[in-house]
């Protein structure tokens, strides 16, 4: 999944003098207050941190209300989804108008019906709404399905993501990975058997042609086939 990154950060934490007896817990408290909130400095949402043990030393900044400034290094796990990134999340609700997803257990995403490709058709089964792929009946998106979707935009204040299922490489993660495995298996088979490879390659080229998210199933072109035969005769 995209959007997650580990960053090394140099931080300065300002601690109230009353907390000076237990600096570590004061620092952890300050950092914990930043968790699951969008932070401009990190350009994303802080999910976790790993702080190198502070030396219990800090400079006292003078002023009307003096604070202790403690420098430390930290490894931060930051979630910063950008438009066109691929994210994965669990579907929690499906209606005719939208699919609601939870990403990483805390961020809510919505995919409206306009952002769902025509391949998917809304149905109701046993009182539950779901989207079924017209080409592949096994490709179903319902509550509980893990899906992959593209980010359209994100509201940093509310951590609300607007997603899209238009690209072909979006949908149920399980189905997409199965398809991807299948493709990898076929390409391995092509590598080991030269004769068969030629025909498989042609098959691959044919099925990968896509247009606006739908797979165009064309017959292999005659010209292409003829060129392959001539190549083999020359070798």
């Amino acid at each position: 999944m995209e959007g997650l990154s580990v960053v090394q950060a140099n931080l300065k934490v300002y601690v109230d003098p009353s907390q000076s007896k237990n600096l570590s817990s004061a620092i952890f408290r300050e950092l914990s207050a930043l968790l699951f909130k969008y932070n401009d400095a990190f350009h994303g949402v802080l999910l976790a941190y790993n702080v190198h043990a502070p030396e219990n030393k800090g400079r006292i900044l003078p002023g009307v209300h003096p604070f202790i400034a403690v420098r430390l290094e930290a490894k931060l796990l930051v979630f910063s989804p950008k438009p066109d990134m691929l994210l994965e999340g669990k579907v929690v609700k499906v209606t005719e108008e939208s699919i609601h997803v939870i990403v990483l257990g805390f961020s809510s995403a919505i995919i409206t019906d306009e952002a769902i490709r025509n391949e998917f058709k809304y149905k109701t089964k046993h009182g539950q709404g779901l989207y079924v792929n017209r080409s592949n009946r096994r490709h179903v998106i319902k509550a509980g399905t893990m899906i992959r979707f593209v980010v359209k935009s994100m509201n940093e204040e509310t951590l609300h993501i607007y997603g899209s299922l238009m690209p072909a490489n979006t949908g149920s993660v399980k189905i997409l990975e199965k398809f991807s495995e299948h493709m990898n298996t076929e390409s391995v088979t092509i590598n080991s058997t030269p004769k068969k490879r030629r025909s498989k390659e042609k098959y691959e080229v044919t099925t990968q042609i896509t247009e606006h998210g739908s797979i165009v199933k064309d017959a292999p072109s005659q010209n292409h086939y003829d060129r392959e035969i001539k190549k083999s005769r020359r070798s």
Binding site: V92, S107, I110
Partner: protein, 563 residues
């Protein structure tokens, strides 16, 4: 209405918060209490869809749902009637279900919910209590408890409990001592208890009662009435937590809240009884946890005022908790005595109330506990030997001279009982002349008057006390001291449907095991059990219907309860 609402639900993604501001405002200002179930369902579906579709609507949606915790005035008025109850059953479960749905679709909404509930609390907006605000507050807190025990309790439960404790504390502090105390400074710490046969029978005109402190004077105080009702609600919630096997989880939050907000609030008179009752419901775990926390704070704390407050709570708790077994009391008393003795060993100086205020508060706590429990402890051989092995006499004979500094009325009562039990006899003569306080005790108590801080003195809130606290409470009036003569067995009361002191022994290794008698266990056969119990226990009875016949009428010379 239903049709248009359902249609809107299908188009939430197209609702713009700027262009459709008026529409949104109209939706969020709706009161669900005015509609039937179908319309309510449609409205709530719209609210949930709005929250899930656009993060900007989440706060407004939560605001709208929380505002429906309290009904309009006309419904508020009839909440206890069948029509009102029916409306309540129609609206509130649906509101809570919608909150749960929003939390499932928008996980971060749960963190927003706690602050929104706190902001909308009726108490916040109207400090002067009247009948309307009382009803509103009561139903609001009922909803807070629903959140605390509901499907999203993991996210909001702790905050709900803490906010309720804060409300109780604020109301408590708002009740001034002028409202309830008729000042009589000539009287000592131990007084004739409020509970008298006549009063217990509901005879409010009983003249025999000294009216220094009176529930009657609180009865016209609306703030007290509200606090009383909220305390009852809280106790009921604790009871339901026991049924749901959640008491220990709830208690952890209560203890944290107690340490943060109640412990150092010296004006708190009744809020702390929430802890008392929770411990009464589960003495083995909650009682132990509470007492351990208090002793640890006293022994290991840094702030002297917090330490003094903690030991005052510990002393009052161990003295008044009827559900606490003698062995339990003895073990914590032992730790207290050990600390005081170690302090004596480390400090070779002379008496100095201000310098050694923490020490004097520990000594006063020891004496206070022993005033209530000495007789009980000396009647059990194992505990008696433990008690006699404690370096109590060394502490009181030390140069720091705690007997001179501590509250005179407590010292006097302790010396009387200790002499009768042959535990300790002072070589000096103390003439207190029935004084409640002395200058020295004032010095060690400080500005906060922690020398006179007995936080579990009788609860004066009528309903909270009678139905919940009283059966678990040790009244001074019924304490048998070491200097009182024994009674004949025949004169003892039997057939009590109330409580017998001597709660469960936690430690099975104790030689004499006092069999537990749990609160509310009305089926227990009394005859043989009572005989055994009465032989060895101090038995405050609370049996208003049977008529009390105490073995001896305890009339200590000092009257009013301590402040």
């Amino acid at each position: 209405m239903q049709t248009s609402t359902k249609a809107l639900s299908g188009a939430v993604a197209d609702i713009d918060d700027l262009h459709h501001e008026k529409l949104l405002k109209a939706i969020f200002n709706l009161s669900l209490w005015n509609f039937g179930p179908d319309v309510i369902d449609a409205l709530l579906e719209l609210i949930v869809s709005l929250a899930a579709s656009n993060g900007k609507h989440v706060d407004s949606c939560l605001d709208m749902l929380v505002s429906n915790f309290t009904p309009p005035n006309k419904v508020l008025d009839m909440l206890k009637q069948p029509r009102g109850l029916e409306k309540k059953e129609r609206v509130l479960p649906r509101v809570h279900a919608a909150l749960k749905n929003i939390s499932e679709l928008v996980p971060m909404a749960a963190s927003r919910l706690s602050s929104i509930v706190l902001e909308q609390m009726p108490w916040k907006s109207k400090r002067n209590v009247d009948q309307w605000s009382m009803k509103r507050q009561l139903i609001y807190v009922e909803n807070m408890f629903k959140l605390e025990s509901g499907a999203i309790r993991e996210f909001v439960g702790a905050n709900m409990l803490k906010d309720v404790m804060n409300v109780l504390r604020d109301l408590d502090v708002a009740i001034g001592w002028d409202d309830i105390l008729h000042d009589d400074s000539s009287k000592g710490v131990f007084m004739i208890e409020l509970e008298d046969e006549n009063y217990a029978d509901g005879d409010e005109d009983a003249d025999e009662l000294p009216s220094t402190l009176s529930e009657k004077s609180l009865s016209k105080n609306l703030t007290a009435e509200l606090l009383d009702s909220l305390m009852v609600q809280t106790f009921e919630h604790l009871e339901s937590s026991v049924s749901n096997k959640r008491l220990s989880e709830v208690f952890d939050t209560l203890l944290s809240s107690f340490k943060d907000t109640v412990l150092n609030t010296y004006k708190s008179k009744f809020t702390q009884f929430v802890m008392f009752y929770a411990c009464a419901l589960d003495p083995e775990h909650c009682g132990t946890e509470f007492a351990s926390e208090l002793i640890d704070m006293f022994v290991g704390g840094h702030n002297p005022l917090t330490r003094m407050s903690a030991v005052a709570y510990l002393a009052s708790f161990l003295a008044r908790g009827k559900f606490l077994p003698p062995a339990f009391v003895a073990s914590y008393l032992g730790r207290l005595v050990d600390w005081c003795w170690q302090y004596c060993v480390m400090h070779d100086g002379d008496m100095n109330p201000k310098l050694h205020q923490v020490f004097y508060s520990g000594c006063q706590a020891m004496m206070y506990i022993l005033c209530f429990r000495m007789r009980l402890m000396v009647e059990i051989p194992l505990l008696k030997s433990q008690l006699f092995c404690m370096p109590i006499d060394k502490i009181f004979k030390h140069k720091l001279d705690p007997l001179k500094v501590c509250l005179p009325s407590i010292v006097e009562e302790f010396l009387k009982q200790a002499k009768a039990a042959r535990l300790f006899t002072s070589s000096k003569t103390f003439v207190f002349e029935d004084l409640l306080v002395s200058n020295l005790s004032r010095d060690f108590g400080g500005l906060e008057r922690l020398d006179m801080f007995f936080p579990f003195d009788p609860c004066l809130l009528k309903n909270a006390d009678r139905s919940f606290i009283r059966p678990n409470y040790v009244y001074w009036k019924y304490v048998r001291t070491t200097y009182h003569e024994d009674i004949d067995d025949d004169d003892e009361e039997d057939g009590s449907d109330g409580e017998v002191e001597g709660a469960a022994e936690f430690d099975d290794d104790m030689e004499e095991v006092i069999i537990s008698r749990s609160y509310g266990d009305n089926d227990l056969e009394m005859d043989e059990f009572d005989y055994a119990m009465n032989k060895m226990s101090i038995t405050p009875r609370n049996n208003s219907s049977a008529g009390l016949r105490m073995p001896s009428r305890i009339r200590p010379s000092m009257s009013p309860e301590s402040l």
